[in-house]
């Protein structure tokens, strides 16, 4: 069911779909299987999310033209629909509820990050630490580049 501006691609278990730091601009929608989103934090790999069917990732690199913020690996046999740069608007034109779902997921992620920020500020009453922490969190918020389904893991970015 591939179109002119999108294509489908399959990945085997453990195969890397997106690598942190890569400069690529495609967006991915999970048609089958699942993926694990990980990020390198101080030299160790931290799992941010596990995404399932219908979830999408990579949209922030497509929207902001920034390098990938995390690594995404296939978990089992996985098939994704790949939207090339420039095809997002065409996809939205042909499938308008996709835009609604993207906004819904991003809104949920902002809410989740807000809650984490409030919790973090509550845990660290010292003003200096608060300021430093909030700067870090706000900074990471703006760097998130991908999405996920709220069913699986709200609030994690790629």
């Amino acid at each position: 069911m591939s179109g002119i501006f999108d294509r489908e691609e399959s990945f085997v278990d453990g195969e890397i779909i997106v690598r942190e730091g890569d400069i690529s601009r495609e967006m991915f929608i999970l048609q089958r299987g699942s993926v694990v989103v990980t990020k390198n934090v101080d030299g160790r790999e931290v799992t941010l999310a596990v995404l399932g069917r219908g979830s999408f990732f990579g949209e922030m690199s497509l929207l902001e033209s920034l390098p990938r913020n995390a690594t995404v690996r296939a978990c089992g046999d996985t098939r994704v629909l790949i939207l090339e740069p420039g095809s997002l608007l065409l996809k939205i034109r042909r499938d308008p509820t996709f835009a609604f779902e993207m906004l819904q997921h991003m809104s949920q992620r902002i809410r989740d990050l807000d809650e984490r920020l409030v919790a973090l500020l509550g845990q660290r009453p010292a003003a200096a630490a608060d300021e430093r922490r909030s700067r870090v969190v706000l900074s990471s918020t703006s760097e998130h580049t991908d999405g996920e389904s709220p069913v699986h893991s709200p609030g994690a970015g790629v």
């Binding site: 069911m1 002119i4 999108d6 219908g54 709220p150």
Partner: protein, 279 residues
């Protein structure tokens, strides 16, 4: 707003057009809601459940009041009534959402068994509605006038539309890039709706359920994905039964696997009774 839910069992109907004086769907629809409650199954009304374009306020109030108690009893049993907004009831979205028992959504993603199912009314894929909403409403009002003359006039117009649609589908098929999509197997259904369903299906759905077109039927979208349309309640109403991922399009009345015994023509009532309602 929660648009993704897990429901192992769900009954989906569309285009009930409650309030429309000639549809006479209230009594059979109430029976259908009782049928769902008896079997402990949640219900999804996939758009145009309420008709605010072709109705009178009195009739609409009467129909909604009758349904209200059924919706409440479904809720009391822990069942859900999802209401997907359509084009005939879009202006009522907030009213319906505040009403209480209904969960109003623009579309619904249902997880059932291993299947992922999209339920959507489908008016967003109607070229006339998207390009010229005012013209669309005008045509709908004219359709309402035809209904007021006689249901047969309305049906004749619908029948007239079928060969035109078939001709349009044939012409479009000649130039279609996506040759993998089979020819439209549902009489009267525009191929554009199947193409739109195919576009949605690319996002990892196993089945797409639309309404809006009033042409009940099912089709294969390729790659194991199914397309369903639940038709409308002016004649031979049908519903989709979702049961742990298995899906079937069934008649509401009359056949062995129907939800309700009796026939639709008897349930619908005679033209004389309808005329009394209008006059």
């Amino acid at each position: 707003m929660i648009t993704t839910v897990r429901e192992e069992r769900l009954l989906v109907v569309s285009d009930v057009h409650l309030g429309n004086p000639l549809y006479r769907a209230r009594r059979p629809f109430l029976e259908f809601l009782d049928f769902a409650a008896d079997r402990n199954v949640s219900v999804c009304i996939n758009g145009d459940g309420v008709d605010v374009i072709q109705t009178t306020a009195g009739r609409l109030t009467c129909d909604l009041a009758a349904c209200s108690s059924r919706f409440a009893s479904l809720s009391q049993k822990g069942l859900r009534v999802y209401y997907v907004v359509g084009n005939h009831d879009a202006v009522l979205e907030h009213f319906l959402a505040d009403w209480g028992p209904l969960r109003v959504v623009p579309f619904l993603n249902v997880l059932s068994g291993e299947k992922r199912i999209r339920i959507e009314h489908g008016h967003l894929y109607d070229a006339l509605y998207v390009r010229s909403p005012r013209l669309y409403v005008a045509v709908t009002v004219l359709g309402g006038l035809a209904l007021r003359i006689h249901p047969r006039v309305f049906r004749a117009l619908t029948q007239l539309n079928r060969p035109l649609t078939a001709l349009g589908n044939f012409g479009k098929g000649l130039f279609r890039k996506n040759k993998s999509l089979p020819a439209c197997p549902i009489p009267g259904e525009r191929i554009a709706f199947l193409e739109s369903a195919g576009e949605i299906a690319k996002r990892g759905f196993d089945a797409i359920i639309l309404g809006h077109t009033h042409h009940a039927g099912e089709a294969d979208l390729g790659d194991g994905c199914r397309y369903f349309n639940t038709g409308y309640w002016l004649e031979a109403p049908q519903y989709v039964e979702i049961d742990h991922g298995a899906m079937r399009l069934k008649p509401v009345f009359g056949e062995d696997n129907a939800a309700l015994s009796g026939t639709w023509s008897r349930a619908r009532g005679s033209w004389a009774r309808m005329r009394r309602v209008i006059v």
